[in-house]
Symmetry: C2
Subunit: 368 residues, 2 copies
């Protein structure tokens, strides 16, 4: 039912659709590790349940879970959500899961199984080991019955890329071209990295933003700072506060986007989505996280990488992280305007943010 | 996608089809526990792979596997067999897995999740704990998207029953009416036990054979001694050797079968399938099994409960355990005659037998 394919998606007529194209289903993993999620993961599990429930209103949802949490996850999640055992080291399926590509002629779906090394391996990774995470992509394909491509020794997380479905990808130099990030660069140079992306996702153009969100522990994943609203239109996390380090980071990204054209030769329209005021870890929150050597600590006062750009585009909804911040409403209004066929569902997502990411990071769509 | 149903299958129009009716697919679990399977389960894994491969020739096969064995199972099993994580305490999915029932009008399939207590719990069970086994039925239903019935505190293993699909069930008193067996009797009496079976499998008649196979550690599961070849025809494990304790056990069963009628009022035709000569555990085999307090020991010289009746009826094959015994050929010929639309595939199954069961015990069909 599942086979590793040794050719390349681009040669087989497969492409990665934009997230706004129709989904067949969505996957999540259940959070639990107590050295990342406070209070044994219980507050996060509540929010993951809310995210899964909202997404399940317009597409089938499967939640993968470690054996020890099966009963608990099953009892929290609504019955129409499928729960399956899928061992993992943490719950960021956007990053460790498969990226799915589609052949528009035959309708066939295949997976791309990138190497996952916990955001930087022994150089700059966030925990060790990550072997269970690295198996997730293949297990998803096996369970769903999809053949899959494997990138040998090419390391990538799904959250470090966004595509428009028409041949254009956006990513960040901070992540993919960072020699300290424990990934492919400089073993592979920019052109070689572009080629792997083009071959596997069927692209003609890679747009390199310099930066991710300030202090993003993933080395600046693009999915926390920018995404496509549709081909030719990019949403960019932004602040007008020139004293915030985020200002210069976003401004440098904007300058690139204003100059660039996409694979079809279009100029890009940029929509600014304003970040909330800085959100810091409280003492209580910090105390709820197990202190473990080798896992990124969660210390009181640390600024979190909060961004409204980290939303999930479902078939009929936008699952939008909000933070009880005055900017929440601006984000809701902007996305309501940009996605007129979808309902924007705000979800108070501080608990996901505390774990190091947000709604987009914990979801992975399979195209219809 | 999956929901516990609080009504009864018989009232909802669901029945358990005969194993010879069309299958949608077959499930197995991957063997590994070193206190039951010799040499770390490696010889058994080879035979399980052979069984799965043969069955997969005429119906889709899924193999559930503990996380630690995923890579190994995936590498041994052919690509067209689906491998999914499913934690288990041992690999007897006939006994711990769901029994599937079907609504002939709507075509809907549902599971029946019996309580599993490792063949007798703390009274007479074969190992402790068995919590992962007991979750298998529900996980199968969740993964496949079937609703399921649950029998509250009624304990049953799928291998202790066989049905003809037309309202008749055969089972053994040695297992279901044994007050020392750590199951329902005598908390429930014979009539009450019959009622649970009738309600959940849609039966009008239960036929009670006195005995299972000599020394069968399951307390005499029927699937090691008798099964239906089709409605009205029963295959019974037999020996002509009057000095073998098996002789009296089989003879008592024959006497019942010759007197009984089935749910449709038919007399039963009995086909004798002759057991192989006694098979004993060798010193080498015994030494390969971890010695653990609380798990049934595998001692040199112990007689194994070998029987040809423990075969699996696939869509187009009979997966038949054989033992390099002169009686192998008789069994092949008998089953070739009784199942004219199927190919009898003999599989040298001593390694499964050493674990305490055989091919029927390690398989579980889902009706088409």
């Amino acid at each position: 039912m599942t086979e590793r394919i040794e050719t390349l998606p681009i040669n087989d007529g497969f492409r990665m659709p934009g997230e706004y194209e129709a989904h067949q289903s969505c996957w999540l993993l259940w959070p639990e590790r107590p050295d990342n999620w406070r209070n044994g993961g219980k507050p996060a599990q509540k929010v993951f349940t809310e995210v899964a429930t909202e997404i399940a209103k317009s597409e089938p949802v499967t939640v993968g879970v470690n054996q020890t949490q099966f009963e608990n996850a099953r009892s929290h999640l609504p019955k129409h959500i499928r729960v399956v055992e899928m061992s993992n080291d943490d719950s960021w399926i956007r990053d460790c899961g498969a990226t799915f590509v589609k052949n528009d002629k035959t309708g066939e779906i295949r997976g791309v199984d990138w190497v996952f090394n916990a955001w930087g391996g022994l150089v700059d990774g966030l925990y060790f080991p990550w072997d269970k995470d690295d198996q997730v992509a293949r297990k998803m394909c096996d369970l769903e019955g999809y053949d899959y491509y494997h990138t040998d020794d090419f390391i990538l997380e799904g959250g470090s890329i966004h595509v428009d479905g028409e041949g254009t990808l956006i990513t960040t130099e901070e992540c993919l071209l960072n020699p300290e990030s424990g990934r492919n660069f400089p073993n592979l140079n920019r052109e070689e990295i572009e080629q792997v992306l083009k071959d596997h996702l069927n692209l003609q153009k890679v747009i390199w933003l310099p930066n991710g969100i300030y202090l993003d522990e993933t080395n600046g994943h693009v999915d926390n700072i920018a995404c496509f609203a549709k081909p030719g239109e990019v949403i960019l996390a932004w602040t007008d506060d020139t004293s915030d380090p985020q200002y210069e980071l976003s401004k440098a990204n904007l300058e690139v986007l204003e100059k660039e054209t996409d694979a079809k030769g279009r100029k890009l329209t940029v929509h600014k989505i304003h970040t909330p005021s800085p959100i810091l870890i409280t003492k209580d929150e910090s105390k709820g996280v197990d202190q473990i050597d080798g896992t990124l600590p969660r210390q009181e006062g640390d600024r979190l990488a909060a961004s409204y750009a980290n939303f999930y585009i479902g078939n009929k909804i936008i699952a939008l992280p909000v933070f009880n911040d005055p900017k929440d409403q601006d984000a809701i209004e902007l996305l309501t305007k940009l996605f007129p066929t979808r309902k924007v569902v705000p979800i108070y997502a501080r608990e996901i943010l505390l774990g190091g990411g947000n709604i987009h990071c914990i979801t992975q769509q399979i195209p219809a």
